[in-house]
C-alpha cells in the first residue's frame, strides 16, 4: 500500500453518502476520495473508507488486519439468529469455521461440476427468450434478467419448477432485508422462514436419499468427515438464492444497459461475436459493478497515508471506486469492452493474472472472493449471447434513460436500472 503524501482537497460532507445523488452517481465522490482522501474518516457513519485500487486490493488480501465478521467467530454464541439468511458463512469472518463451510460448497460451482450445468443454462435461456421473442419488445429486467438466474438455481437445486415465481419473491425480500430499514428486515425474515419451511422436508429427504442435484450434493458433501448441519444447509440455500440470483439478474441488466446507452457503438460487435460477452461482463464488473462496497473490521491499528485506522474500526472498501482508479486503468471512466488493460478472462481469488493486467474488484479478492464467480460469469455471458443471437436490430425503446442507481439506503440491494425496455425487429 502506498505511503505517498496526499494533497488534501475540498472536504467531503459525509451526508452525501446517504443522498439520492450519490446512489445514482457516486463516481465524482469516488474520485474526490481517491485523489484527496484515500483514507477518509467518516465520523457521521462511524467508519473509515478506502477507495484506491491497490488499497482495496491490499485490504482484501490482508486477512490478518481486516476481518469480515463483526463478532468473534469463536465466541460462545448462536450465529445467524438475527441474520436474514440464517446461519451462513458471511457471519464467520476469517475463522476455521468459515474455511470448513466454504470448502464444502465452493467446489460445486467450478470445473466439471459447473460444466455439468452449462447445457441447462442454455436451455433455460432459450425458454425464457421464447416467451417474448415474437412481441418485438422486451422489458429486460422483469422478462429476462430476473427470469434466468432463479430458474437456473432452482434447477440446480432440484426444486420444483412450478414454484420458481415464489423463489423470485423470496430472494427479492431476502436481499431487501439486508438493508437498514426494519420493515425490510421483517420482510426478509418472513421470506427466510417461509423458505425454510418449504425446504426442510427436501433436505431431510435428500440427506438420506440423494440425487444428482446441488441440494443433494450439499447435504451429503463431506470435508474431512464433516457435513453441513441442516440449519447451515438452509442458510446456504438462502445465500445462494439471494446472492446468486439477484446479483446475476442485475449483472445481465447492467450489461445490456451499457451496450444500449453507454456504448451503443459497441453493440454491433457484441451482436456479431458471442464470445465478446465475456468481455462485456468483465468491463461491466469494472465500470459499474453490481456491488460497490464491502465492509471489514480492523483487527489491529492500520497506519496508512500518515493516518491510523484504529483497531476494531469499521472500514468500507469501495471496490466501485477502486475500479475507476487512474492508477490502475487508463481512461477509467470510459466503458470499453475492448480495453487492453483489464484482465477479461476468468477471475481468480488472488487477483493476479498471467497476462499482467489488473482484474476488476467486483468479486472481491482473497479469502472471501465470490464463490459463484465462475457461475455468474458463465450464466450472464450465455444468457446475453443467446438473447443477442435471437433479436434483430435491438435498440432502446426510450432514447433517454434515468440510468443505473443503487436502491435507497433503507433497503439492501444491488445496482441496476429500474426498467430497461428494448425494441427489436420481429
Amino acid at each position: 500500500m502506498s505511503e505517498e503524501t496526499v494533497e488534501l482537497g475540498p472536504e467531503i460532507d459525509p451526508r452525501i453518502f446517504d443522498s439520492k445523488e450519490f446512489q445514482k452517481d457516486p463516481f465524482p465522490i469516488y474520485k474526490q476520495l481517491r485523489d484527496h482522501h484515500p483514507i477518509y474518516h467518516d465520523r457521521f457513519h462511524n467508519r473509515w473508507i478506502l477507495s484506491r485500487y491497490w488499497d482495496v486490493d491490499g485490504a482484501f488480501q490482508d486477512n490478518g488486519s481486516y476481518d469480515r465478521a463483526m463478532y468473534k467467530a469463536d465466541g460462545p454464541y448462536d450465529f445467524g439468529s438475527r441474520h436474514v439468511f440464517g446461519p451462513n458463512i458471511l457471519e464467520y469472518g476469517n475463522s476455521d469455521e468459515h474455511r470448513r463451510l466454504r470448502n464444502i460448497v465452493a467446489g460445486q460451482f467450478v470445473g466439471q461440476k459447473l460444466q455439468d450445468f452449462i447445457p441447462m443454462i442454455h436451455q433455460i435461456s432459450e425458454e425464457v427468450i421464447d416467451r417474448f421473442i415474437d412481441s418485438g419488445e422486451v422489458e429486460i429486467i422483469s422478462q429476462f434478467a430476473s427470469q434466468v438466474p432463479i430458474r437456473v438455481i432452482s434447477n440446480m437445486l432440484g426444486l420444483p419448477r412450478e414454484d420458481e415465481d415464489t423463489f423470485v419473491t423470496w430472494y427479492q425480500d431476502l436481499i431487501a432485508g439486508l438493508g437498514f430499514g426494519g420493515e425490510h428486515l421483517m420482510r426478509g425474515l418472513n421470506a427466510r422462514n417461509e423458505m425454510w419451511d418449504y425446504i426442510d422436508p427436501l433436505i431431510k429427504k435428500r440427506s438420506v436419499d440423494p440425487g444428482e442435484d446441488l441440494l443433494s450434493r450439499i447435504c451429503t458433501a463431506e470435508i474431512a468427515g464433516s457435513r453441513m448441519s441442516s440449519d447451515e444447509v438452509k442458510g446456504f440455500v438462502a445465500l445462494l438464492l439471494a446472492a446468486g440470483g439477484d446479483t446475476t439478474e442485475k449483472a445481465i441488466a447492467n450489461m445490456w444497459y451499457h451496450l444500449m446507452y453507454t456504448r451503443p457503438d459497441q453493440m454491433e460487435l457484441a451482436l456479431s461475436n458471442p464470445d465478446i460477452w465475456e468481455n462485456v461482463f468483465a468491463e461491466m464488473m469494472r465500470f459499474d459493478p453490481v456491488v460497490h462496497a464491502q465492509f471489514r473490521y480492523t483487527t489491529r491499528e492500520i497506519p496508512l497515508y500518515n493516518d491510523v485506522i484504529p483497531e476494531r474500526a469499521g472500514v468500507i472498501l469501495y471496490l466501485g471506486a477502486g475500479n475507476r482508479d487512474e492508477r490502475a486503468f487508463k481512461n477509467p471512466d470510459t466503458f470499453d469492452i475492448l480495453r487492453d488493460d483489464l484482465h477479461m478472462g476468468r477471475e481468480n481469488r488472488s487477483g493476479r493474472y498471467k497476462d499482467g493486467k489488473n482484474g476488476h474488484l467486483g468479486f472481491g479478492i482473497g479469502q472471501h472472493f465470490c464463490m459463484g464467480y465462475a457461475m455468474a460469469r458463465q450464466e450472464s455471458a450465455i444468457a446475453c449471447s443467446k438473447l443477442a443471437a435471437r433479436v434483430k436490430k435491438p435498440r432502446p425503446k426510450n432514447m433517454v434513460h434515468p440510468g443505473i442507481s443503487s436502491p435507497s439506503i433503507d433497503s439492501g440491494g444491488f445496482r441496476s436500472p429500474e426498467e430497461l425496455i428494448m425494441e427489436f425487429d420481429k
Partner: protein
C-alpha cells in the same frame, strides 16, 4: 375520619411522601441492573417502527423526543446500521454503561478533533480544579452584573446569544487570563475549536485551525510571563509545568456547553411558561430546582458516546468490540419508568434527586437528570475538605447565581411578542438548545 389511601403497588413511597422508586424490580427490567443481562438476542426482532434516517433528519435536529421515545419504548438497544452505532435509551441502561469503565471507554475530545500537537488535559489536576472553583464562585457574580449592566442599555436583548452564550466564555476568559480586549477573539476561537470535535469535516478543519491559533496565543502569553502576576487556571497550570499545547488541550476538554445550553434552556423553559417562571423566581432554591429540572427535561447535551472495550452481551444484544454506543440523555431523562409525567417541565419535581448525586446517578433513592458534560457523579461519598466541589455542583451554583442576578437586576422579563422560540441543534449531534430568545429588559 381520615381514610387511609390504598397502597399503590407500583410505587415505593418514602417519608414525606417522596416517591422513591416507581416499582420493585420486575422482569421487564425497570429495576437497576448494572451488570445484569436480562434476555438473549431475540430471533426475528424487527425494528419497523423507526428508520435510521429519522435519527439524522432535520426533524430530529429540532425535536428529537418523539423518535427517542420510539427507541426507548420499543428498541432500548437499537442497532443503527446507518450510523454504525447502538442507541441506549433507557435510564437504567444508560447509567449502567456510565458506571462500567471496565467494559466501555470514553474518548477525549482530542480524539475527535484529531489536531496535531495538542498536549495533556490538565483539567483534573487539583490546583487547576481549585482555581476553577474559586473563579466560578468569586467571578461569576461580578462578571454577570457587568454583563447585565451592558445588556440593560439595549431595549431588546437576546438572552440566548447575549447572555447564556456569552457568560460562560467570559468566565473562561477570566480563568485563563484573557484580557477584555482579547476576549471576543478568544471566545470565537474557543467556540470554533469546540465545534471542531463534530463529525463535520469542515468544522473539524476549522477547529484544528482555531486550536493552532489558540496554541500560538497561549504560547505567547506564557513566554511573556503575563501569568506570573495572576492567580487563575492558567497560572496554576504553568506552575505545574504546562506549555501552550497543554493549556489548549485542557481548554478543549473544558465544558462550556452545559452552562451555555442549560442557561439558555432554563430561560426558554421559564419564559415559555409564565406560571413556571413565577414559581422558579420565588426563591433561589426554586431556581436551583428549575435548573436541575431543565437538565432533565431539556438537556443541552443530548447524548454521550461510549466505546465497547471488548465483545460483550448487554441489553439482550451481543455488542462487538469497538462498537460505538450512543447513550441518550434525551431519552433516558424522559423514561417513564423513572419519572412521573416525564414530558412535563415541573419546577419542584418530587421524584428527582435534588442534590448532586454521589457515586451513582441516584441520591436519596432518587434518580437525577443525566447531564453528560458535567461528568459522572462524584466518586466521593461526601465533599472532602481537601478537594473542590465537583464541576456538577460548581456549574450548577454559578448558573443559578447568574440567573438570580438577572432576575434581581431587572423587572418584567418577557418574551418579545410574536417571536417563535424553539430548541434545536445547529447540526446533528451538536448541542440542543435555544439559539434565539429575545426579551425586553428593564432595570429593576
Amino acid at each position: 375520619m381520615k381514610v387511609k389511601e390504598a397502597k399503590d403497588p407500583t410505587k415505593i413511597v418514602g417519608k414525606n411522601g417522596v416517591v422513591l422508586r416507581k416499582s420493585n424490580y420486575d422482569s421487564e427490567g425497570s429495576g437497576y441492573r448494572t451488570y445484569e443481562v436480562y434476555q438473549r438476542e431475540r430471533v426475528g426482532e424487527s425494528t419497523e417502527k423507526i428508520k435510521p434516517s429519522q435519527l439524522i433528519s432535520d426533524s430530529f435536529r429540532f425535536d428529537p423526543y418523539p423518535s427517542l421515545e420510539i427507541l426507548r419504548e420499543n428498541y432500548p438497544c437499537y442497532r443503527d446500521w446507518l450510523s454504525n452505532c447502538y442507541w441506549i435509551t433507557r435510564y437504567n441502561d444508560v447509567t449502567s454503561i456510565f458506571s462500567d469503565d471496565a467494559n466501555f471507554e470514553t474518548r477525549s475530545k482530542n480524539h475527535f478533533l484529531r489536531a496535531e500537537g495538542l498536549g495533556k488535559d490538565m483539567g483534573s489536576e487539583l490546583p487547576v480544579l481549585f482555581a476553577q472553583e474559586k473563579s466560578f464562585d468569586e467571578d461569576t457574580s461580578r462578571i454577570t452584573s457587568k454583563l447585565i449592566e451592558e445588556l440593560l442599555t439595549n431595549r431588546t436583548v437576546d438572552l440566548a446569544t447575549d447572555f447564556a452564550a456569552v457568560l460562560p466564555l467570559k468566565i473562561l476568559a477570566e480563568q485563563y487570563g484573557v484580557s477584555d480586549e482579547e476576549s471576543s477573539q478568544f471566545g470565537h476561537r474557543y467556540w470554533r475549536m469546540q465545534r471542531g470535535t463534530s463529525w463535520d469535516p469542515r468544522l473539524q478543519m476549522d477547529g484544528k485551525n482555531a486550536a493552532q491559533e489558540l496554541l500560538d496565543f497561549f504560547a505567547g502569553k506564557i513566554r511573556s510571563g503575563e501569568h506570573k502576576d495572576m492567580e487563575n487556571c492558567l497560572s496554576a497550570m504553568v506552575a505545574l509545568g504546562a506549555k501552550g499545547k497543554d493549556v489548549v488541550a485542557t481548554l478543549l476538554n473544558t465544558d462550556h456547553e452545559t452552562m451555555h445550553g442549560a442557561l439558555s434552556n432554563l430561560w426558554f423553559n421559564m419564559l415559555t411558561s409564565p406560571d413556571k417562571f413565577e414559581k422558579a423566581r420565588s426563591s433561589k432554591r426554586m431556581l436551583k430546582l428549575a435548573y436541575l429540572e431543565t437538565l432533565r427535561h431539556s438537556p443541552p447535551v443530548l447524548s454521550a458516546e461510549r466505546f465497547a472495550l471488548r465483545e460483550i452481551e448487554r441489553f439482550g444484544r451481543l455488542i462487538p468490540e469497538g462498537a460505538r454506543l450512543i447513550c441518550s440523555a434525551g431519552a433516558a431523562n424522559r423514561d417513564p419508568r423513572i419519572f412521573d409525567n416525564p414530558e412535563e417541565f415541573t419546577v419542584d419535581r418530587r421524584d428527582m434527586c435534588q442534590r448532586e448525586p454521589r457515586g451513582q446517578y441516584r441520591a436519596d433513592g432518587l434518580a437525577s437528570g443525566i447531564a453528560f458534560a458535567l461528568g459522572r457523579p462524584s466518586i466521593h461519598p461526601a465533599v472532602p475538605e481537601d478537594r473542590p466541589r465537583s464541576m456538577y455542583a460548581i456549574i450548577r451554583d454559578a448558573s443559578v447565581s447568574a440567573s438570580q442576578i438577572l432576575i434581581e437586576s431587572t423587572r418584567g422579563i418577557q418574551l418579545e411578542k410574536d417571536e417563535t422560540v424553539y430548541l434545536s441543534c445547529l447540526t446533528v449531534g451538536e448541542m440542543h438548545t435555544c439559539w434565539k430568545l429575545p426579551v425586553s429588559l428593564q432595570a429593576g
